[in-house]
Symmetry: C2
């Protein structure tokens, strides 16, 4: 476990050392602000661990790791505008604290900063890294678009939903691992394995997020319990409920959307979901993806110890719900 603390400290120092010009203040102040809001730094950690797995020091993977983290933060700044989210990690979002224009533009410049960070890598790896990064960035945009599209669609299937979260959140985790492996000069098979590990882990993790929103202990999750339910948000839970409901239960689902008493809304949702065994079904699906991730990890053909990556895997897996 100690390496997690060590890598985290390393990343926090590196992120703190990313300095922006002082002017134009409206462009750069939001970036210094947003980058220090914290977060799990799960993605850059993935790059460091993947590099380590293939025998590369964290000094040599840090630029790729930071590029992933900067890209992630760029996408959050823009997503927050689109989702009209007032808070992120308990603090005001950029568009809330400043305004939409500033959030658009400082997001854009952060996106370039991510590429600038990526370009610091050895030219030997730059072509491959750039290919991976571009492909992933495009997929993340596609995922965000699908997510917005889904809010206006009534017929989102489980497969649609999984594909959306794969694009919106999981491919970036896959790419984070992949980039460490590219710098580690891993074989094509191993690169595919570790990418697939990251993507499946990411999907499982996102499903777990949906679960935790309703079934997590809210003090551990750090969010309002049932926030997704109260916002009538489409999640894997609501999709599973809908696809398993009979006509009467479908009516109840629709009726719950209009319930104005928050406590009652959560209670009625939990009652119906219990009846439909939504939580159990969801856990089954989540575990399917954790198992796929585990399989990809087993398939990795290397002599080095897999201990660190297994540790990360278990930490992510064991969040409580």
């Amino acid at each position: 476990m100690d390496f997690i603390k060590e890598y985290n400290l390393f990343l926090e120092i590196e992120i703190e050392n990313i300095k922006f010009p002082s002017t134009p203040a409206n462009l750069y102040d939001p970036l210094s602000y947003f980058l220090t809001l914290g977060g799990k730094r799960m993605r850059p950690m993935a790059t460091l661990i993947a590099g380590d797995l293939f025998g590369v020091s964290i000094e040599n993977t840090k630029y790729a790791a930071l590029a992933v983290e900067l890209f992630h933060n760029f996408s959050l700044i823009h997503d927050d505008i689109m989702d009209k989210a007032p808070l992120r990690r308990g603090k005001e979002t950029v568009h809330q604290k400043w305004n939409d224009n500033i959030a658009i533009l400082s997001g854009d410049v952060l996106f370039v900063k991510a590429y600038e960070m990526l370009a610091k890598n050895d030219i030997k790896y730059l072509g491959e890294l750039l290919k991976c990064f571009n492909r992933t960035a495009i997929e993340v945009c596609e995922g965000q678009q699908l997510d917005m599209d889904f809010e206006n669609r009534d017929n989102v299937s489980l497969d649609d939903y999984i594909n959306m979260i794969r694009l919106k959140t999981s491919v970036l985790l896959g790419a984070a691992f992949e980039m460490g492996a590219i710098i580690g000069e891993a074989s094509e098979e191993n690169i595919n394995c570790i990418y697939s590990f990251g993507v499946n882990l990411g999907i499982a993790f996102q499903i777990q997020d949906d679960l935790l929103d309703l079934y997590g202990e809210s003090d551990k999750v750090g969010k309002q319990k049932g926030g997704d339910v109260l916002a009538n948000k489409k999640t894997i839970l609501s999709i599973l409920a809908k696809s398993n409901a009979d006509n009467g239960q479908l009516n109840e689902l629709r009726s719950i959307q209009n319930e104005i008493d928050n406590d009652k809304k959560i209670k009625r949702t939990l009652d119906l979901f219990d009846l439909l065994e939504v939580k159990e079904k969801c856990i089954l699906i989540m575990n399917e993806y954790y198992n796929k991730a585990q399989k990809s990890l087993n398939d990795l053909n290397i002599n080095n110890s897999k201990d660190n990556i297994l540790t990360l895997f278990k930490i992510l897996q064991k969040r409580e719900y």
Copy 2:
């Protein structure tokens, strides 16, 4: 002149051949729409001409040229949101035709597509190209932020303004030439020269844009005459007027801002500007930058003919006002 037509046709075909996936439609339809709105294609043309100057075929500079054009279009899509512009080249802007969220996200994905295009270049040049592209993209964002900041500032000097247009519009023209020269394996001195040529040309061109808005023949310019005046926009003209006005004239300038009759507003502006010799002063400054550009062109140390780049220079210079 024939090479201009040839290069233009080449670029139009190449741009038409950039195909986007069919889904998510809300992400990609705006891009196909926006890219075919036209435009002068001045920037990609600059890359082709610079490559040609250093002995490289347009086939070998086209990816860099297209990357510049895609980036330019990305920045227009986002700028149009920020400026709340309903029209671009006489057609609806993306945020107007779809909505702000779609314009943010399809702009983002177009930005990645620009990098994807850039990454198609020979790996030999990729490091240098990427460095130039990133630096420029950051400056363009800074310029847009300064432009927005200036609208709320009362003390914008001529130097401030020139610096803003340099960043917002001119460095991209400089970079477009530079990228052709990089692929042409030009010397560092020649790269600096052609970059400086492009930047100064871009500044002069932008000053000319401000001039044409008020003094151009509106049927040639294709915009409403005096649109900047009617919108109380800060331009080099308004800045020159303000810095040369006495107290009474400053009062008249402020009073004109509140004039509600459009024809009277233009008339009063023209009368005051004539008195202050704003047009003449502006032409002097513009020519200063055209001369700087000309000097950089003369300083280019090459054996190949400078005819084509001179032709482009003259075409851009001779727009009427």
